[in-house]
């Protein structure tokens, strides 16, 4: 295989890491909403932790994206 082709395929494969981050962030926001609708009075106090969790999860996906960008360079 041509190295340039392999590079592009590799960058595409590296981006599959974002699938996991997508599922993770969706789970976090979905579960927050789920909990907030069951107990709206406790929702406000926990909103910050939802954002922290989303940020942590998102980072792992973004690392995959950064790897893809490094490969493409």
């Amino acid at each position: 295989m041509d190295p340039a082709t392999a590079k592009l395929i590799g960058a595409g494969l590296a981006c599959t890491g974002l699938i996991g981050a997508g599922i993770g962030v969706g789970t976090i926001f979905g579960n927050y909403l789920n909990g907030a609708l069951r107990n709206p009075s406790a929702a406000d106090s926990q909103r910050i932790w939802m954002f922290v969790g989303a940020a942590m999860t998102e980072l792992l996906g973004l690392l995959a994206f950064v790897v893809a960008m490094i490969i493409l360079q």
């Binding site: 910050i48 954002f51 922290v52 940020a55 973004l62 994206f65």
Partner: protein, 238 residues
């Protein structure tokens, strides 16, 4: 890519280092000036019934103050100016970067890493100032079996030193990804021409709005994680 390229506006050299005034510096300066102008001008009236701009500034201030108070407790309000400065700078840098033709300073890891390193060093100093040597207890969680302790301490130390990396990569990758996506879709608009180019153009308009949300959210998350690190430094409940 063209929009991420640094160009020298005023070439300068100091002690053998290249300290040129680049377009990145220019947009950072614009962000600082815009933030200062916004906050100073909007709070000039100080009326009891706020004007439109004053209420905007008050909402942003109250929002960050509430976050710091919730996360760090009342002691943390001493460091509120630091958190608020970080927030407002990142916020303005992100939002100004969405303007077509502008330069997104936060899409460069050198800028975000410098910001994150400032936070990291500041928080470490605050930790040692308030807790003394006891701050090192943060690396030794309570209730861990003695056998596992060497492993846990190593992991805790590594995770502590990864903080500036994770903080900077998060902001930089978010900004970079959004702008690259817009760029890719802009390529589709040109490629499909007058016939089919309208669909990606419509998507781009919508996605720019989404990017605006991301810009605000990432500024908030940057400030929020600063608060959480500050909380670790101020309270020894580890």
């Amino acid at each position: 890519m063209h929009q991420f390229e640094l160009t020298k506006k005023v070439p300068l050299e100091l002690f053998g280092y290249d300290v040129s005034f680049t377009n990145s510096s220019l947009w950072m300066l614009i962000a600082v000036v815009a933030a200062s102008a916004f906050l100073i001008m909007s709070m000039r009236g100080r009326s009891l019934v706020p004007t439109r701009f004053q209420s905007m500034a008050e909402v942003i201030y109250e929002f960050m103050a509430k976050t710091v108070r919730d996360v760090c407790g009342p002691e943390g309000m001493k460091y509120f100016p630091f958190v608020f400065t970080i927030f407002i700078f990142v916020f303005f840098a992100n939002v100004l970067g969405i303007i077509p033709g502008s330069f997104t300073t936060t899409s460069h890891i050198s800028v975000t890493f410098a910001l994150a390193l400032t936070v990291f060093v500041f928080v470490t100093l605050v930790g040692f100032k308030t807790q003394g040597v006891g701050y090192l207890k943060m690396f030794v969680p309570e209730g861990v079996p003695l056998l596992l302790l060497p492993l846990i301490v190593v992991i805790e130390v590594i995770s502590y030193f990864m903080r500036p990396v994770s903080l900077s990569v998060r902001l930089f990758a978010n900004m970079l990804a959004g702008h690259i996506l817009l760029k890719v879709f802009a390529g589709f608009v040109i490629g499909l021409g007058l016939v089919g180019g309208w669909a990606p153009l419509a998507f781009m308009v919508g996605f720019t709005g989404f990017e605006l949300g991301i810009a605000m959210l990432q500024a908030f998350i940057f400030a929020l994680l600063t608060c959480i690190y500050l909380n670790d430094a101020l309270h020894s409940h580890h």
